[in-house]
């Protein structure tokens, strides 16, 4: 089967057997023993899934985060949100389809949603540039965030990118500046803001839409300062050491929550978001609504101060008291 990860194989095999038995049962009547076998396999699928998915290595989670069948931003816009009404362009240079944004309703609340968007097949991936934005994507995002700020709409960003695009045009049009300006401007937006890492949180390209009041992450998503492969190439001199780098960098949802780098982990259906995308969408909606309800209670000065303090507190170092002269 296409897109099957190694560690998904035992579950896939069980499901295939289950399907065969069910088909058999639907074609002609079967005995009690077959029906028992069906029930036995159903239980085994759940047990095996639990066994595998509660013990995933960081590298396996990276693979899940990159799973081609994983729900992307537009999928969540259809499952967790309603009435998505896309707005285009940075008003400067181009329409960057690696970033989508526009109005949407979240359980009846009117919000602006912005997210990085991957493609599901080659054609779509070329259109979406594999979810890696150019400067125009970050500038479109900022334009929409300013629109939201001006008209008092909460902002939800969905992050799923391997990183900002490393290209000649991106450099010529100053992608570093586009990201940096977003980091600065997002700190002052006068509306509640929430980011959710739904797949890959690739470094500055993710952070460029990630300076928000709350930073949430899906259970099998990751968020990292550098790709595991990139880190492995530098520190192990071997990209194949990516699993080791994934472990060392502490990039999984659990690790990030423990370190205080994210505010909440959104559970995924057993087997990963791609196995039950609708359920994943519903969980995301509930989580966003809960956090949004909390943020909406805060007076603006408090909201802004807490946003600043949230990021201000991130960093670990030792500071010895200087000896008095």
């Amino acid at each position: 089967m296409k897109n099957l990860l190694d560690f998904e194989r035992p579950i896939y095999d069980l499901k295939k057997r289950l399907d065969d038995l069910r088909r058999q049962a639907s074609i002609h009547p079967v005995g009690v023993d077959v029906e028992d076998e069906i029930r036995r396999i159903e239980v085994k699928i759940i047990e095996t899934s639990k066994q595998i998915f509660t013990n995933l290595t960081p590298w396996q989670r990276v693979q899940l985060a990159r799973h081609p069948k994983r729900p992307f931003t537009l999928d969540y816009l259809a499952s967790a949100f309603t009435d998505f009404n896309e707005l285009h362009g940075d008003r400067l240079y181009a329409e960057d389809r690696a970033v989508v944004g526009g109005f949407a309703r979240l359980g009846g609340k009117k919000v602006v949603v912005i997210g990085t968007q991957k493609g599901r097949d080659t054609k779509e991936n070329i259109r979406r540039n594999f979810g890696s934005a150019h400067p125009e994507g970050y500038r479109k995002a900022l334009r929409l965030m300013r629109l939201a700020d001006k008209f008092g709409l909460p902002i939800i960003t969905l992050i799923d990118t391997a990183g900002a695009y490393p290209g000649i045009g991106a450099e010529e049009r100053h992608i570093a500046e586009a990201i940096a300006v977003n980091l600065r401007e997002m700190m002052l937006l006068r509306v509640p803001t929430i980011a959710a890492v739904i797949g890959e949180g690739g470094s500055g390209g993710a952070l460029g839409i990630g300076v928000t009041d709350r930073v949430l992450i899906l259970e099998n998503a990751y968020y990292s300062v550098i790709s595991p492969e990139g880190c492995a190439a530098i520190l192990w001199k071997d990209r194949a050491a990516a699993p080791k780098a994934a472990e060392a960098l502490k990039i999984t949802a659990r690790h990030l929550l423990e370190l205080g780098l994210v505010d909440d982990v959104i559970p995924e259906p057993l087997g990963g978001a791609h196995t039950q995308p609708a359920a994943a969408g519903q969980t995301l909606r509930e989580s966003l609504l809960r956090h949004l309800a909390e943020l909406e209670q805060k007076p603006l000065p408090e909201l802004l101060k807490q946003r600043y303090d949230r990021f201000r507190a991130l960093g670990r170092f030792s500071e010895s008291v200087p000896v008095a002269a």
């Binding site: 900002a164 695009y165 490393p166 290209g167 000649i168 991106a170 450099e171 010529e172 049009r173 100053h174 992608i175 570093a176 500046e177 990201i179 940096a180 300006v181 980091l183 600065r184 401007e185 700190m187 002052l188 470094s203 500055g204 952070l207 460029g208 990630g210 300076v211 968020y223 990292s224 300062v225 550098i226 880190c231 530098i234 520190l235 192990w236 001199k237 080791k244 780098a245 472990e247 060392a248 960098l249 502490k250 990039i251 990030l256 370190l259 780098l261 600043y308 990021f311 201000r312 991130l314 960093g315 670990r316 170092f317 030792s318 500071e319 010895s320 008291v321 200087p322």
Partner: protein, 317 residues
């Protein structure tokens, strides 16, 4: 008068088309009458050992290192700008005796228990020994001409000038002090990017520093970013790119992604002079390319304007 012309050949690029630095705003002699002599700073000599001939990385000529101290570590033949340590930079910019260092006691910790080929702890120890510094940035307040400024200077020789929690915290405190005391902030950057040994804590320094700059900007206080060889990735995509003025030293290589990564990703031929200070100037990304010997004079001139503070006349009653 700045007349130096940098050709792409001097920048290590084998073409003859000249890439000219912009003319200075005013013709003037260097602002310091007595040239500050480098090497008197607390920092140890590292890239250039004492009493040696140094081979220029661009023109290949041998330069006596004492001569480089006289020229602020600029090749007298081809004007190649060698990297310069933060304490030497203070000597070249700040009025003697006026520099008050901040947060000198901040030290990085191995928060992730980073297990790579080499441990972060030993990497830190090696770099502290090599540079005599605790981490990759020096911050403080001092006088540049008649302007009291909050000044941060990065140090490439400390783990490639990478930004972890200490760099982010020191820069943030510097900016916050600027906001609190109404001081202009100047940061001279050189960095390979975020420090991966601190994982996501490093990435978050980008947000932290830019957040502090948001409030500095709200207070309408000047922030000048000076880009030096080389400045990339996490530093470039954060505080280095949001200056009210963004200046660069001649020939400095500056960018978001490394040239090799771009080449590998795009399979494209990189344009001549790609990611040099002059390339950024030609593409409208920075305000000016400024020779090191003119930096102090230019900073004073810029600060004169940025602190002029025109206020409309009060309404007549």
């Amino acid at each position: 008068m700045m007349t130096t012309t940098f050709t792409k050949k001097t920048l290590g690029l084998e073409t003859v088309e000249p890439a000219v630095t912009p003319p200075p705003t005013t013709a003037a002699e260097p602002s310091f009458v007595k040239k500050p002599k480098l090497g008197g700073g607390k920092s140890k000599k590292r890239d250039i050992p004492e009493g040696l001939w140094v081979k220029c990385k661009k023109c290949g000529n041998l330069v006596y290192d004492k001569e480089l101290d006289e020229t602020l570590k600029v090749c007298p033949r081809c004007q190649y700008h060698f990297q310069i340590g933060p304490r030497d930079r203070v000597l070249s910019l700040v009025e003697p005796g006026s520099f008050e260092e901040m947060d000198a006691n901040l030290v990085s910790v191995d928060i992730l228990g980073f297990a790579g080929m080499a441990s972060y702890v030993s990497k830190l120890a090696d770099n502290q020994k090599k540079t005599g510094e605790k981490d990759a940035v020096l911050t403080g307040v001092g006088m540049i001409g008649e302007h009291k400024v909050a000044l941060g200077i990065m140090d490439f020789s400390f783990i490639g000038g990478s930004m972890g929690s200490v760099v982010g915290e020191k820069i943030t405190r510097l900016i916050e002090r600027g906001t609190a005391e109404e001081l202009p902030v100047i940061v001279i950057s050189t960095s390979g990017g975020a420090r991966m040994y601190e994982g996501m804590f490093s990435l978050m320094q980008m947000a932290k520093t830019c957040g502090a700059l948001a409030y500095l900007a709200e207070a309408r206080l000047p922030y000048i970013s000076v880009l030096t060889h080389n400045t990339y990735a996490g530093v470039m995509a954060s505080f280095a790119s949001v200056g009210d003025l963004i200046l660069a030293e001649p020939g400095a290589e500056i960018g978001f992604a490394g040239a090799r990564v771009i080449k590998d990703t795009t399979q494209a031929e990189l344009p001549p002079g790609f990611q040099t200070a002059e390339f950024l100037l030609d593409h409208g990304l920075i305000d000016a390319v400024i020779h090191r010997k003119d930096l102090k004079k230019q900073l004073i001139e810029y600060l004169d304007f940025l602190t002029a503070r025109f206020r409309p006349a009060p309404p007549t009653t």
